[in-house]
């Protein structure tokens, strides 16, 4: 077991940031903590990286207790905070060298581990970190977090504010790192990234909603779910919200995801109703739930 969290709670003044959190992350797993801003993801990361002490509960990382063995943890984990936290006035190479030195190693010693990532930013190694683009900053930050060959890697919202191309590249890198036996705990507010993890925990308001593989989580969605579309989105949403049998109505891109609270729901009834609301081009098709549907259902 690489990370073991049991009954962790943490409050600031009168805000309960985390309430009774328990879960385990297996060695070599890519585990995602999925939830919006303010859900408590960063607080949990800080507790696990020994930066904060929980009010209640215990946790171990790589076998070390986060309170009593904090020094050992600081030697064996890599941490990439949510905010870009490198020295903007140092060059790419200087940043990497600095982090290698303070962890008592050299770039050469662990070059193998970061090679894939570093070659992408190497052409800019003499550039100051502050002048890099968002995607490159993030790659540099990842290199710096990996330079001492950590057993466990903590990535707090690494893809926030990064464009889709860089995001995709980043997740590909994580997959490769996982092959090298590094346990990765990553957090993200973006539900579409959940599918890329081995297992995920959905978190909101300091509470875990569900923990499972992404496939199992969507499979457990309790109701049949329908894509509804019509000529006018706004009227469609309003009409569906006014429909007395609705269980949930959520816009999803060009469709609205609709669930009904009757067990014997017939889409034709809904179509008739929508037509009575002067909507046209109505389409109602069964679809599969996404992680986001599950999240909203659980958070309701």
């Amino acid at each position: 077991m690489s990370i073991h969290i049991s009954n962790i709670s943490k409050s600031y003044k009168n805000v309960k940031a985390l309430q009774d959190i328990s879960f385990d992350v297996k060695a070599g797993e890519l585990f995602g903590l999925i939830g919006p801003d303010g859900a408590g993801k960063t607080t949990l990361f800080r507790i696990l990286t020994t930066l904060l002490i929980a009010n209640e509960g215990t946790a171990t990382v790589a076998g070390f207790n986060v309170v009593s063995d904090y020094k050992n943890i600081r030697n064996s984990v890599g941490y990439m905070p949510g905010k870009f936290s490198l020295y903007q006035d140092l060059t790419v190479e200087e940043n990497l060298e600095f982090f290698a030195t303070i962890f008592g190693t050299t770039i050469e010693e662990n070059y193998e581990l970061i090679k894939d990532i570093y070659v992408q930013i190497e052409p800019f190694k003499a550039r100051r970190a502050g002048k890099l683009s968002g995607g490159m900053k993030q790659k540099l930050a990842l290199c710096c977090a990996l330079i001492h060959k950590p057993k466990v890697l903590f990535l707090d919202e690494p893809t926030t504010g990064v464009d889709p191309v860089s995001r995709k590249e980043f997740w590909d890198m994580l997959k490769r790192l996982q092959q090298k036996n590094i346990t990765i705990l990553v957090s993200t507010p973006y539900m579409d990234e959940a599918a890329l993890c081995d297992r995920i925990a959905l978190i909101q308001d300091g509470k875990i909603l569900e923990i499972d593989t992404p496939e199992a989580i969507v499979k457990h969605y309790p109701k049949p779910i329908y894509n509804v579309s019509a000529n006018n989105m706004y009227q469609l949403i309003n009409s569906l919200n006014a429909y007395k049998h609705n269980h949930s109505v959520y816009p999803f891109g060009e469709f609205v995801h609709y669930t009904d609270n009757r067990t014997d729901f017939n889409p034709e009834d809904l179509k008739v109703y929508l037509e009575s609301k002067n909507l046209s081009n109505i389409n109602i098709d069964k679809t599969v739930a996404t992680i986001e549907d599950t999240f909203m259902e659980l958070a309701k």
């Binding site: 800080r46 990286t49 984990v77 941490y79 870009f84 936290s85 020295y87 200087e94 982090f99 962890f103």
Partner: protein, 368 residues
């Protein structure tokens, strides 16, 4: 050790890449010394005065010549009647009016007593005071010359001798003060800002989650500034010796040691400030308000401590700068050795140890 050197290397990168701060760091001491040395001064020079001479005789003419010959005064105009006095003051250029009574020579010879009234513009009391002292001095001088001829018995003339700063140069008084301010500013403000910058940028989080010990982080942060502060101290001393011809009477070695002691106490204060402030802005405000103002106002640099109200005199004792100013004035101006300033030194040592202890204790190994 390698980690530590790596850390210090990084600090120097920060310092040398921040051109603006670097400029302030080295430009400020020079600018301040020049400012205090040349512009801000207690001496008076070429002050405009007006003369209302009711007698217009030989003696008054001689007196007027004496005054206008001195480099302190230049006679702006002669006025004819009492009512003009207010008019010239209102115009503002004239700072003093000499009102010489009627029949000055006659009175002087007949009654051995004649009166000159010195009217000064006291909107600036310091200058007014100085002007009247200088005029007095010239008159006394003239009187002495007269007395040689007339020989009057039992005349006492007070004689004042200025020691340690015979020319009464104000730069001698400012150099120790400026040096104190600069060392305080560079050491305390710069360290507190550089530590809080890491907090603000979030890099402190990564440093904490690394095997670096708190002690290494602190020493690594302050080390470059010890170095820079020493350079500044040297620059200030060189400037004062070579530009203002201010002699350093005492041992340079002792001066260096005392300066390093003061630098360390200021650095410890800087660390302390950084532990209580979350942003660079707060750190800067606290440094400026909490350190600079007391140094300027309560250390005896500008306002003599002995003329402060008692509560302020007591408060001044807890300001390290006060003791440092006493020490360096002693060394630079009086040329005293450690036997005369060991008490002050000991107080400074005690304060330094206290600040270091407190800041190490306050430094957090975790967030919040």
């Amino acid at each position: 050790m390698k980690r530590f050197i790596g850390f210090i290397k990084k600090e120097f990168y920060h310092i040398f890449r921040d051109r603006r701060s670097l400029f302030i760091l080295f430009g400020m001491p020079i600018a301040q010394i020049m400012l205090f040395g040349f512009a801000i001064t207690n001496e008076i020079n070429n002050v405009d005065i007006a003369i209302l001479d009711h007698s217009k005789d030989v003696t008054t003419e001689e007196i007027i010549n004496k005054i206008s010959a001195s480099k302190y005064f230049s006679i702006n105009q002669f006025i004819e009647k009492e009512s003009d006095i207010e008019t010239v003051f209102k115009k503002g250029k004239v700072k003093a009016v000499l009102n010489i009574e009627k029949d000055f020579s006659k009175n002087l010879i007949k009654e051995h007593k004649a009166t000159i009234q010195i009217i000064t513009d006291a909107t600036d009391p310091n200058t007014a005071n100085t002007i009247s002292n200088y005029v007095n001095a010239i008159l006394i001088q003239y009187q002495k010359e007269l007395n040689k001829e007339i020989t009057i018995t039992y005349q006492t003339v007070p004689q004042t001798r200025m020691v340690y700063n015979p020319a009464l140069k104000s730069v001698y008084m400012f150099v120790p003060g400026v040096m104190t301010i600069i060392l305080m500013l560079v050491s305390a403000m710069m360290t507190s800002i550089s530590i809080t910058r890491e907090k603000e940028l979030g890099t402190m989080e990564i440093l904490l989650v690394s095997p670096l010990k708190p002690f290494q982080v602190i020493v690594g942060k302050v080390f470059p500034y010890i170095f820079l502060s020493i350079i500044n101290a040297v620059v200030i001393v060189l400037l004062s010796i070579f530009i203002f011809k201010m002699p350093v009477q005492g041992s340079l070695f002792l001066l260096a040691l005392e300066s390093i002691l003061f630098i360390i106490s200021a650095l410890a204060l800087g660390i302390l400030i950084s532990t209580i402030s979350a942003t660079q802005q707060t750190a800067m405000m606290i440094s400026l308000m909490g350190l600079m103002l007391p140094v300027i106002l309560l250390s005896g640099f500008i306002f003599p401590i002995s003329s402060m109200p008692l509560p302020l005199q007591i408060i001044s004792n807890i300001i390290p700068a006060k003791w440092f100013i006493i020490i360096i004035k002693g060394i630079m101006l009086k040329g005293v050795g450690i036997q005369f300033i060991w008490k002050e030194t000991l107080i400074l040592v005690a304060m330094t140890i206290f600040f270091i202890g407190l800041s190490v204790k306050k430094y957090k190994i975790r967030l919040e």
